[in-house]
Amino acid sequence: MSDTPFVVVEGLHFSRGDKEIFRGVDLTIQRGRITAIMGPSGTGKTTLLKLIGGQLVPDAGRVLIDGEDVHRQSRRALFTMRRRMGMLFQSGALFSDLSVFENVAFPLRVHTDLPEAMIRDLVLMKLEAVGLRGARDLMPSELSGGMARRVALARAMALDPELILYDEPFVGQDPISMGVLVQLIKRLNEALGLTSIVVSHDIKETLTIADYVYVIADGEVMAHGTPQSLDLDQDPRVSQFVHGEPDGPVPFHYPAVDFTTDILNAGGGR
């Protein structure tokens, strides 16, 4: 593995309406590693993936993938660039009108002129890798949430991308399928030499597979390092998040005026 970073995010600013989501985020994602981006819900982690994928345009800053600025590409070049990326969506986002087989075959049919027999072989290979070769004729509505996500993973890998973006892969999974997914991500990354970005707030699972972790809060990178170093981090905010304590510097309460004043005011205001 070379040491040149595959994805570089520099001084990223993004706001939606009046709300500032990112205020200067810098990330460096090494080739062939699993990098986790974590943070409390609502910190715009999915937005970050969309910025990396070029679906949203930042207000300032840039995103380089393999040295090329994503947001400076023409529409055509961007679509070509996306062939080198796979993205696993939170809901799986399988095409509901196509069978499992056709879903995985979709990127191949769109981007290649391979003969039908070869497409079949490739699709079965990808489905075998996620353990769902037997489910090829099912429709997405017949799959469980975990299976749908595995099919989506097979689809994301169909074109042998160099980069895979995982959007909350563990949310809403039972412990077994969660374990299966953790194993899959880890194994695929090692076997295929992929670069992976995992966005998640499931700390335990993410820390077991990640090589490097960024913690984002309040629109900025709050901490970064290897899972071990974060575990030992002295910053109370980081340790609250990593150890999952309910109250601390990140408050349990939504900002409000003092409780007693609030109650008395409401009573007297009428």
Binding site: F79, R82, M87, F89, A93, S96, F106, P107, V110
Partner: protein, 260 residues
Amino acid sequence: MISRITHLGRRGCELLEALGRAGIFMAQSAVGVPSREGWHLWLRQMHFVGVLSLAIVLVSGLFIGMVLALQGYTILVDFGAEQALGQMVALSLLRELAPVVAALLFAGRAGSALTAEIGLMKATEQLTSMEMIGVDPLRRVVAPRLWAGFVALPLLTIGFSVVGVYGGYLVGVEWLGVFEGSYWGNMQASVDFIGDIGNGMLKSLVFAVVVTWIAVFQGYDLVPTSEGISRATTRTVVYSSLAVLGLDFVLTAMMFGGLS
């Protein structure tokens, strides 16, 4: 007072912006070279918006033709002019009722379904994931639906007219006893192929473009939540019904208004 005017201005700007977005959306979707794949997608949508809407359109057409004949007869018979029944049924169907009623039914049956389907695809991130795979969802999802709508509604309107004329025949000739020869003869003497059937078809084509456009755009532009989908479906039916009725007046004035 000032704030009212400001509010009005803001609504105006929002309206213009939405229209602009819809226009760009339409232009990006409707153009493009159809591929073999695209042909298949179009076929599937034709089945969905066309074939599956056929039953409701034909049944409505039959009843409307029958009612027209019944009402027309009671009025015409007072003037001893019941032999003009065929003319009345055919002209009101071809010029007005078939294009308008078929378009309204189409908006309710196919338009709302199109909105909901595309909205659901948006809500489940299917459109985004398609984009990430490197496929333009406008081409892949929207374009076949647009073109299917453009073709299906005029065909449905033809079906509506045929069945309506036959329904008028059933009631007028078979039941009320209007002479069969004068039913068809009067109809043929007064209906002009270009002026009546052609203009009716033209109307139907305009309605097809407007209704499908509204339906598909509402689906693509909605807020991807269950509430957003239900609102957008309602908006599709309301906007397209209003657009059809309003445009019908404008088109009628342009086509038949100048004639003596």
